[in-house]
Amino acid sequence: MTIRIHAPVGPLADDSPQLAPVAPALSGGRIGVLDNGKPNALVLLIRAAEGLAERIGGRVVAVTAKGPRGNAATTCSPQVLATLSKEVELVLTGSAD
């Protein structure tokens, strides 16, 4: 017999975060690094950013932490995000702590 059931996920909140649109082309782009505060993350991120810059003919122009009292378990300060959004086309960071 057919039954109907509710989906368990519920709606997204009105202000739920959305992924930024994909940049049309990275060639010659400015790259930023956002340190997520985990041990060795900065070393890895800078190395990856430099490798990417070499491949696309771009430049690493910003390396920054998340802001005052920022660490792996906290979100980035709005000021840092605002600065990065003006200075770079692409940011490399770590998504977990």
């Binding site: 057919t2 059931i5 989906a7 368990p8 519920g10 202000d15 378990a73 979100t75 998504s95 977990a96």
Partner: protein, 341 residues
Amino acid sequence: MTDPDLLELADESPEALYALLEERGWGDGLPVVAPTPERVDAALAGAHADEVIAVLPPRGGAATRRAIAVNAVLAGCPPELTPVLVTAVRALGHQRLNLRGVNATTHPVAPLVIVHGDAVDDLGFNSGLGAFGPGNRANATLGRAVRLVLLHVAGARPGPGDASTQGQPSKYAYCTAESRSEWPPYHHSVGVEAPSAVTVHCGENPHNFHDMESGDIERILDKAASAMATFGVNNACISGGEWFIGLCPEHAATAHAAGWERGDVADYLFERARRPAGEFRRQFELLSWAGWMRDAPDDEMLPMTQEAANIRVFVTGGAGKHSCVIPSWGMTRSVTLPLVP
């Protein structure tokens, strides 16, 4: 069918439901109860279904009363537990709990739900033998429903939404209830003056300690201090983290008979669970410490949390002399809310 929230399942068998969940990446891997509109309506009990109780990261899902009820049904919760689940979800949404971090961390943290007060007996929670499980429907299904809300509404699936390196068994279900003791209930100690309440603490599995022999509370608590003073827990490098100490009723009675209150237990553990500052420094390059701890010389004995108030004592379990300490993930604070029927 026009309601996008409703799915049609051609076969009502448990196997068909199981297959649907697997296909969609839903569920916790265990069989579920079908969330039919009738069952969901019973769980809602006439409440406003679209009211948003919390917005849960990382997905940014709106935990509406309906979404909470759907997951309650999936978990097997009887309808009378819905207010407890709603209160627990409300706690998950508090900024101080930092659910975004709880789900993003590689640590195995899981939200522990502790039910306090009249609701324990009224709703059939087990605060006695085996309080952490298994075998009691209220404890098991309430804990499981919290996890299902996290998986579905918060999007905390291992990998994209939950980065825990190994996970831990309490990520299936993690709920206990407070036993009656000679002390006032825990929630009164944190300023929640209600007949019943719910606490959510994001931590590790319980770490057992036992003392079968002594009627000496200091000897008993020295074993708790020993279980706490380890470098393997996040509390060792994050001094703002809390500890939950789950005393069994017999250990709590020993403390009470000696004239100790909850705060005395916390004060004692704060003084006894210590390691030399130099040892901490040898173990960690990154120490998120209070300022006064950073300035300590290497030979000074430092506590496993920066203040005694971070050591929170509750009573749970039945006969016997096993208690537990529950370390924190660290960057999170427990939340205790009154239970509103």
